[in-house]
Point group: D2
Chain length 317, copies 4
């Protein structure tokens, strides 16, 4: 980034237009508090986002974390493709993407297919050698396995695959190193208080929760979505327009992929990317996003006349 | 308002869609804190606006107070019309409008005309009998006269007109009752620290500050605008496009009227009304305003396929 | 209409803004030729539309006739609803609508259902007494039956229902009076030269052609659509997004309804209505339509300066 | 152009997407008549434009010739700049631009300045050696001088400068070679029938008409504009917003420059360029222009349901 800015300066862009600051969060927070900027776009964790919203009196736009969900609808199809997208969404970059798939809701029709075994197969072909798994920067191995174990104590929960540390590596213990992991938790257990907060905790690593719903349980799935706090990305994997209509119409995530090829992350096209359902929500990636985040409406009303020749001063009001 | 809602219900609108609460601010604040709404549009004073921004973690849109300015440009014209608009902007509704004219910057060309005496004449034809002056709800007579006296202590300041209590009335002393008042303060004094905060204090009553600038002092005027906090409405009274370009280009107020007929308040057309320069700024009055305040961008990306027939699972990444 | 204009005048609208002329086409054509208007919006038959396009040197917008098609896709569903919409699209107002369904392409999956017998049933409950059938203003009984007979000479063609004059009525013979009629013509025969022109002749009365296609024959259906001249409305009755994508992507009709509830006429919402695929195509019914038909782009570029102080006259070029 | 297309093909663009035809107009007309294209964008002379509009039944968009006007308003200023722009607008590229300044209306305030002598000076510094004048491709020397002589017979007309053939050159006589020329014609003479057609004849070479108007004669100027046929570009040289409002509001040219720096041709920004006031008018140069010329509105209305469970077939209508 610094080199990019040097290039821009070399090309003649004004040096005083950008301040580029490398610092820890504490220092940057102090700078912001003193500078009192008119607008701050923050991209990072929900925790710091909420702190900044208060520190800066709400003069913020937030592109924060996401516990991103994917729903597989009733129409089973393109199973290999769907499995591959699930694997990539959850485990590419070792799951270290704000748009990573954190929970997968499978319709019973999908549960009756070999989808889970395909997911397992795809997860298990990942390995350190080709960096298809790798170190996790912000969550330790211990913390991740501890989270897995807590989940496994929920009645009906079971380990689908993974759940073990990576072996034969030199990743320092301040980082995380676990195999791509999925834990199944029954839908009715997810909705219980206590469980819900645990299940929807975002783990910034190669980890996801998987659950299953029957046709009659769609409203429970929708309730689970509604109770989440960060609404970044989502996917509704279905080509059934009535199903899409129902799920999209009752959820609020920002960047929502719909259709049999839907993913939670890394779509090919250049689209708006950001959360929804929050007046502080920022978008990045399109002209509209730039306009909405970095600009604001100003209305200039020209009233040049002429004043009518016969006009006279009217009474006061 | 309550009767309007009863009418809506009578017409069949769903009763559960609106909660209508009459309360003092403290109670409403408590309700908001407990309900934790996704979005709150607040219209009222800057002080409460800032409190709510923090209380609600920035999930607010604000259409708050304004210390609204008007600049008379170098091209003198339509003097009667301009004087009448000034009088209405400052004193109609006894100045109790968030868009009232709070300060008037006169170009020296205007100062050389009888404009000030016209303003005085128009202000003095206002009287209690026809309610062209009236009680001030939120500032007492004492507080207003006290403010006038403080301003008059600034070197060079002078009372242009008003500055006296209304007489022969039965307005209770918890309200304000003063004659339409204008105080002249020299531009260089306005810019001095200490003076500036005093001069730009919003008085929600029939009161304005008047000052004058020479052609060479436009940058001082622009500095005065820049240092203000609330940027609701503004007027640039000029048909000189180069002057308009300079002032509009270097200021940030939301609803800005430009042209010889410019006003700070109550334009005939239905336009966006709201502050600018703040990501929390709300607008009211147009479809765009409603969309920006009450909605947010959500991006649905349909990716229905088909998947290419020759597609095969690619390597993990 | 005349009374409406009198009301407008009574309300104060300027009398000189509208000329309202009742006349036969020949007279109106003469008026247009002499007045040489900057723009003429014509709504009526394709034949007159083409004449006007030449007479007025192309300064026209046309909202002309349509031989409107409906395609039933592979996903059978809501059969009663679909049948009812087909009946209404083809025979409501005795088929005298520019958006009437003129040809129905049934997927073989629909052909295997009782759809045709439902259509027959619905058509046969129509009767003169309640005006669900009625006189045809511009095509005589003889002309319609003659058209039916010509179609029936095509190999494989058969009468599905109707094809007989109405009985026990006093409709003068200069009008048409036939029972709601449908003729089946095989798809491959439709595409043959000679047949094609006959089959796609618009009959402005209660008449439609019905045909069937197999999954493998969709490209033949698309070819039939492509060869049509007027592209007003169309319907693709399917909730299969891949099917919709293929048909919509390869056709060009203006107002195209898509989905299991699709119709060719009279949708509940207020939308743009007009043909597509022709630079002369007019739209009616939305602000965008009004703007596109009755206005045109004009670009005003303000270049007010200032001229740089150091500017000097450069060399000629 | 051909080489550009070869480059595109080399880069992989499909060869069958563009047909590139070099031919005379007669051949191209025959091709168009036989191909019967859905849309033709024509850029060229009004005469051929009108022929094509009929030949192609109005399926055309026209970006045709212009007899482009410039009005100097009452506010004299930046005289050197304005003179230089006039010289360039009329004589750069030897006036061979569809946007060349063909007639100049000077307000009497400008007539009282040395503007005309500045124009003469600038025109006379143009010379063959540096190609600031050059051969005219489509009008011969004789035709241009003949036109000048006809104009000079109008009462009050006079030659301002030019009006002579270029000397010492080897330009073949099938081309034109004249000095930059301006002829003054009184405004009231311009408006007379017979004169008007002569004065507003477009000469695609280094030639312009100049006239003068008094404040009270603005309506005559506006009448002259209204009677013109091609409305391509125009300039209103004034920073007086009331004057701009009046002239722009009562004229219809497509690309209209406004302000003291206004020109008729070659503005620095990339804007829509095209005529207005004609439904066939084409624009070039912006995304909106491309959309309006090469595309058309198509409305897809999705009506996927669901059908209400309690729905029953209603009566026919």
């Amino acid at each position: 980034m610094e080199q990019m800015m040097r290039l821009l300066h070399y090309c003649g862009l004004p040096e005083e237009d950008v301040d580029f600051v490398n610092s820890d969060g504490k220092t940057m927070n102090k700078i912001l508090m003193e500078a009192n900027p008119r607008m701050t776009l923050f991209t990072g964790s929900s925790r710091i986002a909420e702190k900044l919203a208060v520190d800066l009196n709400g003069r913020v736009k937030l592109e924060d974390a996401g516990f991103d969900w994917k729903i597989l609808g009733p129409d089973v199809g393109e199973a290999d493709y769907v499995a591959w997208v699930c694997d990539q969404d959850a485990y590419a970059c070792s799951g270290q993407k704000c748009s990573a798939q954190s929970i997968l809701f499978m319709h019973e029709n999908w549960a009756a297919t070999p989808l889970l075994s395909k997911l397992k197969e795809l997860a298990e072909r990942r390995k350190l050698e080709d960096l298809t798994v790798g170190p996790v920067l912000t969550v330790t191995t211990e913390a991740m396995l501890d989270h897995v174990n807590k989940l496994l104590k929920i009645p009906g929960a079971k380990l689908l695959f993974g759940g073990k540390p990576l072996e034969n590596h030199s990743i320092p213990s301040i980082y995380g190193a676990v195999k791509p992991t999925a834990v199944y938790v029954p839908l009715d257990e997810i909705l219980k208080h206590g469980n819900y907060e645990l299940v929807t905790k975002e783990i910034f690593g190669p980890f996801q929760v998987v659950t299953e719903y029957k046709k009659s349980q769609l409203s429970m799935v929708l309730e689970a979505l509604e109770r989440m706090h960060a609404h970044l990305t989502a996917a509704v994997v279905s080509n059934d327009p009535l199903f899409l209509q129902e799920v999209i119409g009752q959820s609020v995530n920002g960047t929502t992929y719909a259709g049999l090829r839907a993913r939670t992350t890394g779509a090919p096209q250049n689209h708006w990317f950001g959360p929804a359902g929050d007046p502080r929500g920022a978008g990045i990636g399109t002209p509209e996003a730039i306009k909405l985040v970095w600009s604001c409406h100003r209305e200039i009303i020209y009233d040049i006349g002429p004043v009518l020749q016969l006009w006279e001063i009217p009474p006061s009001t």
